[in-house]
């Protein structure tokens, strides 16, 4: 029962879904969605940091500006996947 998510728009601001908890793990973090009861694995500590801080940026692109350029494309794909599974949501 996954929640239909809007298309991912990097120009919008996103934040960690308030229904999602992040549990630090040696490889990054485990994300648990209390609403859909789905688990996801964030497989890079840098990605965890990015996701945690996402809500303080006006857009995803702005948040990614602080990330090393070579990692931006892969982080962007990861964020799109997280948006598709409702782990991150557009800012209200």
């Amino acid at each position: 029962m996954s929640v239909p998510a809007d298309p991912f728009e990097p120009d919008r601001g996103y934040r960690l879904n308030p229904d999602v908890a992040l549990r630090p793990e040696p490889f990054g973090a485990l994300a648990y969605h209390f609403g859909t009861r789905r688990l996801s694995f964030l497989k890079a500590p840098g990605l965890v940091e990015l996701v945690r801080g996402l809500g303080s940026h006006g857009s995803v692109s702005e948040a990614l500006a602080g990330v090393d350029e070579s990692r931006r494309p892969s982080f962007l794909r990861a964020l799109a996947a997280l948006a598709a599974s409702d782990m991150i949501v557009p800012q209200p």
Partner: protein, 414 residues
């Protein structure tokens, strides 16, 4: 379960082998008391243990799981619902954001309880059923147990508890019923879950007679491949991946002590739910440091998180597919832990096994002394050694819902 990967890192399974900050799949057995005496019970349940955790101690463990961010637990037993504080503990766990999926034979799932469950967020119910027909089910789980389970399923469906699980342990006698189980699940709006029979607990007694034959192993694999989208397995059939083809969904690794563990009713922590034996006991939640300390620091768990050698399986072309199979299945059939699984689909687990280990702690109902003769299971051609409780399958007191238990599993429960 989804993986969000963004750079070349070792496969998730490789990460998991080194262990996690807390288990992903924690089984917690709330009591050894049970109204049934299933022939294959992997925890040899029946009688309550006088040393079982009190309500306050149970709440303490729930608090600890909350702090460790264990987001859900699989609660079992024994029959967990016969604990008088079961519903109170369920509510407490949910209130602490520790979701509960509990396994039950249905004995306490009245219409009113089913409505209560349907109204409680964050709870899943799993009804154990080992035959799609009364005859096949009751031969293993005891007389009356099929009707008990079906009544509970009807109550859950009636209450609108959509998607509850029907959990089936695959045996030689129910493999031909796979389609019937799926139809039964559809009838009740439930989801089918099938798991592997293990030679653990009383399962050791019936393993030779009940574990699926080699052709049936292939049948299970084919059925799982065809129905992957509608059946859950608890990742328990990864040993079948050696048959080739696309890997079955799941982690494909032995999670014991890495992502999985068991807390038993007296607070002992074991590497996995199928390994209730001194050899796999890592500690106790009552010791200083509690469960977290056991999970993080138990020497047994540290060993299980070291890279596996592969042993005799190392030269096999399929080792990467099956990972050598199930540790508990090997242990309880007397096979070396770094060798092939007793159900190795390539036949490498056959041959001359060593001595099987003495049974672990046994809470089976005390009944008439075990006879040494084989006892009919109630089906033609099925015979079970008379060791321990299997001798008593035909006794009328087993599984009669109106009478919980001859030796009162609830005696002394606070």
């Amino acid at each position: 379960m989804t993986t969000v990967s963004c750079e070349p890192v070792p496969a998730l399974a490789e990460q998991f082998k080194r262990g996690l900050a807390a288990p992903i799949c924690l089984t917690w057995e709330w009591t050894y008391a049970c109204n049934l005496s299933c022939a294959h019970c992997l925890s040899s349940s029946g009688r309550r243990d006088p040393a079982e955790l009190s309500t306050a101690q149970m709440r303490g463990v729930i608090d600890e799981l909350h702090h460790m961010q264990v987001f859900y637990v699989n609660v079992g037993g024994g029959e967990p619902t016969v604990r008088p504080d079961f519903w109170e503990l369920l509510q407490y766990a949910v209130s602490r954001q520790v979701g509960v999926k509990f396994s039950t034979n249905g004995v306490r799932l009245t219409a009113a309880r089913a409505r209560q469950l349907a109204a409680t967020d964050y709870v899943d119910v799993q009804i154990s059923l080992d035959g799609a027909t009364r005859e096949v089910n009751d031969a293993v789980r005891g007389r009356g147990s099929y009707d008990l389970a079906v009544r509970a399923m009807a109550n859950l469906a009636e209450a609108g508890m959509a998607g509850f699980k029907i959990s089936v342990v695959m045996t030689r006698h129910n493999v031909p019923q796979l389609d019937e189980f799926a139809a039964l699940a559809d009838r009740f709006g439930a989801q089918l879950r099938i798991t592997r029979l293990r030679p653990s607990g009383r399962g050791a007694d019936v393993w030779p007679q009940l574990h699926p034959t080699a052709p049936q192993q292939r049948q299970i694999h084919a059925w799982l491949t065809a129905h992957a989208d509608r059946v859950l397995t608890g990742d328990s059939f990864f040993h079948l991946n050696a048959l080739g083809g696309a890997p079955l969904p799941g982690l494909n690794l032995c999670g014991a002590g890495r992502v999985v563990c068991l807390i038993d009713p007296v607070g002992d922590v074991y590497a996995c739910p199928f390994a209730i034996h001194d050899a796999f006991r890592a500690g106790n939640v009552r010791a200083p440091g509690g469960f977290a300390e056991v999970w993080r620091s138990a020497p047994l768990f540290a060993r299980l998180r070291e890279p596996a050698s592969g042993g005799a399986c190392r030269s096999c072309s399929q080792y990467s597919a099956c990972q050598g199979g199930c540790m508990a299945a090997k242990f309880f059939t007397g096979l070396p832990l770094d060798g092939p699984d007793p159900e190795c689909v390539l036949g490498h687990g056959e041959g001359a096994p060593g001595d099987t280990p003495p049974p672990g702690n046994d809470h089976s109902h005390r009944r008439v002394p075990a006879r040494r003769t084989a006892v009919p299971l109630g089906m033609p051609g099925v015979r079970v050694p008379a060791r321990r409780v299997a001798a008593d399958l035909g006794l009328p007191a087993v599984g009669v819902p109106a009478r919980l238990c001859g030796s009162s599993p609830l005696a002394g429960v606070p």
